[in-house]
Symmetry: C2
Subunit: 750 residues, 2 copies
């Protein structure tokens, strides 16, 4: 059979599992990705069609249309006989749940419950026409509903709608004009969501999607758990039927929680009981669904059952009258005529809608990531065999919601709000189960665990928008820190191989005589140059600057002794004429004790073997190495500060007769060194080797040839020679000082 032309979908099953309510955002995540892909495809197609404009045919135009409106593509191929049944089952199920969810989310958004039904209906309808994936049933996110609600409540609080009602004989009481309030709130919510949509379109235009790659899994885990916590607290309020003030901004969730517990005495027991029962029953049945998913053909739609029972009880027992329970009350029958939201409110809500747009986008992406990394989700998708074959399931669920709007709505009016809230809470379990990831994460990678916990706590404390931002920045900072504090090792060779490994981690590692090898596993940039210097100091075992300063001091003392006649300098060395009068060995603390010695130092050139016994009592640290090899294989970039520091380090070591060699550098790193003026007469490219072993072989050869000649440094020689005026200074040296002092030292000591 020939493959059919054009685009269609593989026969995959929609996700219909025990977690369908919570997993709805997954659908939307997929929708986002899908939309993105679709956009790319559209672009590609449009570009192609523009390019081939001359030869554009009707057929091609129809192809473009099909890409833009995929329903034209897949509906004609619909196989009624094979697919309709499963689509209907899946659609009805999803539709009922969408109805409940819509109503519950309306509570979060602080608009009348009926508006939640619209939010459940229209997205499905739109997606039926414009969507491409049968995995997706679109709808509102609880967290976004919550954020919308907080803006609505802050812009139209109850206090704005107080009317004094002089109700017959009763005292004048102020009452809330709920009708006016709800109208205002709906207007605000609609304006807000429109603005959020516009901002998200702009995001799309700017290809803001790149930010997704910074949403690391641990960050997403922490963020969604915090979001679940936010939803939990807001639903808890409804389950208990306790009213609180509207808090905004930092710590608002904590304040709300505190106030809920302060007013816990006001709990409506009817609502609380109904809510608690709902939670327990739903969670239990979902657990069963989960455990026996291979044995039962269709998961039990417990939310729907519970809702029907709860509505019946509430109606039968007249819970509202008898127990003052909070019920859904008015659900408008039918559709209200569409209105343009009040654009005039846009300026007031720009900041809020920006953060909602970002959070909605982040949630869509991040919840999707959570599910994508969960084994169960994928298995469910493949194994469950109920559910629709195509988007037709979506239109059927839309139809169910429409029926709810047109007819059933009235029937749901006695339903307690606490039951709706409880249904939402029961579905948060999966999100909270993510807390169990922390120990595993901690074992695997501590930094990732810290990112998780930080993002979660900060999102709870600062709110989701600022929390997400803080988590994102924190995540990036951990990258900087990981680059900044890399591992580093002193290396040695595994005997008679060319393999160099850490002297600490391996036994029987041989360090070549007089050579230290350091591997620093990170780029060198402004943030870690100090750390790099410390690594070098720790590897070689001495501080090059201190050694230099001490040597300088010893030289001055020798000169003084020569001047005072206690030492004599001849061509063959120094002859000591008197026993040194300094009997106490100079203590180590007063390194900077050169003040007393500022006699002219210009006239003499002395050659000293620093590792032999000195005629003066200066505690010059021994330098047991002649070379330092830096294994730069893991240096992936350098900045100007890094290059300058490397230069300074090389010069500091050259001053004390230790050569620095570089091995395994990347070609582009050497290029960067050239660009930044690293090389000069003293730092030449012949100190660069392809591998550490090459450097070591070279050094061993050098040592051998020198041994053949016999060292010229075995006696202390002193040669009288007049040079330019020089003053010697002893400080922490900058590079330029090095040049000057280097010359001074060379003149004195070489």
């Amino acid at each position: 059979m020939a493959a059919p032309g054009g685009r269609s979908e593989p026969p995959q099953l929609p996700e219909y599992s025990c977690s369908y309510m919570v997993s709805r955002p997954v659908y939307s995540e997929l929708a986002f990705q899908q939309q993105h892909e679709r956009r790319l495809q559209e672009r590609k197609t449009l570009r192609e069609s523009l390019a081939k404009c001359c030869s554009c045919s009707r057929k091609r135009a129809f192809g473009v249309l099909k890409t833009l409106v995929p329903i034209l593509e897949w509906l004609p191929k619909y196989r009624v006989k094979e697919w309709l049944l499963s689509d209907v089952i899946s659609g009805v199920s999803t539709g009922l749940v969408a109805t409940l969810q819509g109503m519950a989310y309306a509570l979060l958004a602080a608009v009348p419950v009926g508006y939640g039904l619209y939010s459940a209906f229209f997205p499905i309808l739109t997606y039926f026409i414009f969507g491409t994936s049968r995995h997706i049933s679109v709808g509102p996110f609880p967290v976004v509903s919550l954020m919308v609600g907080s803006v609505v409540l802050s812009m139209a609080p109850d206090e704005h709608f107080l009317v004094s009602s002089s109700n017959g004989t009763v005292l004048n009481t102020t009452m809330i004009d709920t009708a006016a309030r709800d109208t205002a709130r709906v207007l605000i919510a609609s304006a807000l969501t429109l603005l959020v949509g516009i901002i998200q379109l702009i995001f799309g235009g700017l290809q803001i999607g790149f930010i997704v790659r910074y949403l690391a899994d641990p960050l997403v885990g922490g963020f969604t758990t915090a979001a679940a916590f936010q939803v939990l607290v807001s639903q808890l309020k409804i389950v208990l039927n306790v009213s609180t003030k509207n808090y905004n901004g930092v710590l608002s969730i904590i304040y709300t929680l505190v106030e809920i517990f302060q007013n816990i005495g006001d709990t409506n027991l009817a609502d609380f009981t109904a809510g608690l029962l709902t939670i327990v029953v739903c969670m239990a049945v979902k657990e069963l669904n989960d455990r026996f998913r291979h044995k039962i053909p269709v998961p039990i739609p417990i939310e729907v059952i519970v809702t029907i029972i709860a509505t019946a009880i509430s109606y039968g027992a007249n819970l509202e009258k008898n127990y003052n329970a909070g019920i859904v009350k008015s659900i408008p029958r039918g559709f209200l005529p569409p209105e343009l939201p009040p654009v005039s409110l846009f300026s007031e809500m720009l900041a809020a809608s920006f953060s909602i747009a970002v959070v909605a986008y982040a949630i869509a992406v991040s919840v999707g990531k959570v599910y994508a990394t969960k084994y169960d989700y994928t298995i469910d998708g493949n194994q469950e065999s109920t559910g629709g074959k195509t988007q037709v399931a979506g239109i059927i669920s839309a139809a169910i919601v429409m029926i709810a709007i047109l007819a059933l709505g009235k029937l749901l009016e006695p339903l307690q709000k606490s039951v709706l809230a409880a249904v939402v809470i029961a579905n948060l379990k999966g999100m909270f189960m993510q807390l169990c990831d922390i120990p595993r994460l901690w074992r695997q990678n501590k930094i990732d665990a810290v990112i998780w916990v930080f993002t979660c706590i900060v999102s709870i404390i600062l709110g989701l928008d600022l929390g997400l931002l803080a988590g994102l920045i924190f995540g990036l900072l951990t990258v900087v820190l990981r680059v900044q504090f890399p591992s580093w090792n002193g290396l040695g060779s595994i005997p008679s191989t060319d393999i160099y490994k850490s002297t600490k981690n391996y036994k029987n590692i041989e360090e070549p005589q007089g050579v230290k090898i350091l591997r620093f596993s990170s780029p060198i940039f402004y943030g870690n140059v100090d750390g790099f210097k410390k690594c070098i100091k720790s590897t070689v075992g001495f501080d090059a600057i201190r050694v230099y300063n001490k040597r300088l001091k010893a030289l001055r003392k020798i000169q003084k002794l020569i001047k005072s006649g206690q030492l004599r300098a001849t061509k063959n060395g120094i002859i000591s004429d008197a026993v040194s009068t300094n009997n106490a060995f100079e203590p180590d603390e007063d390194i900077e004790d050169l003040e007393e010695l500022d006699i002219p130092t210009k006239e003499i050139e002395i050659q000293v073997d620093w590792n032999s016994e000195l005629p003066v009592k200066v505690n010059v640290p021994k330098v047991p190495i002649h070379s330092l090899v830096l294994d730069c294989g893991a240096i992936s970039f350098l900045d100007v500060v890094g290059v300058r520091s490397l230069r300074v380090i090389v010069k500091e070591f050259q001053r004390i007769d230790v050569n620095v060699y570089f091995a395994s550098l990347q070609d582009y790193v050497i290029e960067k060194l050239e660009q930044c003026g690293f090389f000069d007469d003293n730092i030449r490219k012949d100190t660069f080797f392809l591998t550490v072993h090459d450097a070591i072989l070279y050094l061993q050869n050098q040592v051998k040839s020198q041994e053949g000649q016999g060292s010229i440094l075995e006696t202390i020689t002193l040669i009288q020679d007049c040079k330019d005026t020089l003053e010697l200074i002893e400080t922490e040296l900058t590079e330029e000082e090095l040049d000057v002092q280097d010359e001074a030292m060379r003149t004195l000591a070489s």
Copy 2:
């Protein structure tokens, strides 16, 4: 001569050069470092003294006291004969300049000029007693004065002090009660600076100094140039004697500049002329000082000379009366009694003082860094031979300022403010000269140049506090970006060596047959896993997922042909019974065309040589390699996302019979892989090699031994065999899907 015990200073010269005014912050930077070191030393000493508490003697207690109050250390050793003269010369010079600066900075801080003299006097006095370095003369920073001024102006603007003066016959005019205003401003400024001091003490306590390492040189360059620009604009206002509104926050400097040019007609010509002349003369003489610094014994103290002349002219010509020039006016004689600043204002100014504290700290450090990297500064410090030998120079300059406060102040009253401002402007030259660094920086390292420019622009636009923060974060983000977008290369061996180099950069590189080698020079973390996958795709030349999907499709088609009898499967291969009816080669776009093929695929196991001609017309991309070697020498860390991605990559390639090998991994990276559960039955440690060459040698051996056996994949075989029910899905695969699908594919195709 024996070295004297205890602590003293090497005979180094204070920095007294042509740039002494601008370089004052350097002193303070050094002061910071010195104080830090001193604090460490204090700690150490205190710790020691605590440890040896039992044996603590009077002598030791005196030592601690000497560390805390260094004057006890160095003053008794003062050599009057040798050092006094140079100290006096240096002190007088510095003192005169400090007087001028103090007055000019008072203008910036919006307090009466006299208070500037206090700010010049007290720090020197304090440092004389508590300081350790003779390099340092402490005093106010211009930029900090400017920031204090902006807070003062916003909290006590002129409008708060309007009084209606009914002055005889004239119309009622509103006048400003300058006395009340100045009193209020001084109170605000003093409260603010006290709070800044407290915050800086807290910084010190929290060891906030670590932040200094993030002040990269380019950031510091941009920031100080922006600061110089801020100072320039505020002084320009004074030079022109044009009044503007007080702008605060974002873009305030731009608004001020615009308003200055709008009101440029109001310029006071006397002030402008005096200012311009001062600038020109000061800059010219400083240039001469600089050029002939080896020939003249003492740089000409041009600021002092200009000020004296300007004061004389202003007094002689009565510029205030005749030309309405802005003069210094009242300088209070003597000291005012000290008062506690109004602590009640603290809450209002907390945010502002926090940013001032940070900026002051940052400037101290950053200006110091700028000078430390400048060659001239160091040379000056060493070569100039005027200037004091000890802190005595400081006390002398304090004395000069005191004389100014007590007596000379009155004499300076006719001085034009514009001259003071011009002196400050003339000293900004060095800061603006940093602009010349940009081209060099751009050549050396583009990212560093971008950091420079970004920090400068953002500090001008957002103000110094936000600008510094933005620059800091931007700098860190560039690190993330550099890690995220590393260089990567396909490698090949230099013929008959074990050296592997980039195939792009070198000629005659040999790529081993059927093997691709990739070196990715960066850690793999959540930010760059996508990039890493792209690098692999680009290196191997095909997309592993697409290949797999295409093969799957071909398999299904073969199965269908077998079912329909067009192909027959025998133990020896497939026999084609009919010419394939698909004449048009299937187009490349419809990859996802499996919908039509969902016939059961469970019964047959087929073995296919994918590189041979297939009996079905599916465009399966050829896979020319059997192995991929990843050179991980530069992977310095992995996070959980990175490890999971690596796993997915290995499995994706294993599915299409390409083995992935790892070479040159760091030991701790392998440990991390173990912790994160990287290894299992399919990914074993025997795919890890010490070097790329080891991996290649192993692979070459493998290939040879296989060739000896003869390939079993050369015919298409088809074996009837019944397996479990499996459904095959074609999507972007998550790791877990991989496991499932992998099994499916294996059952089908192996």
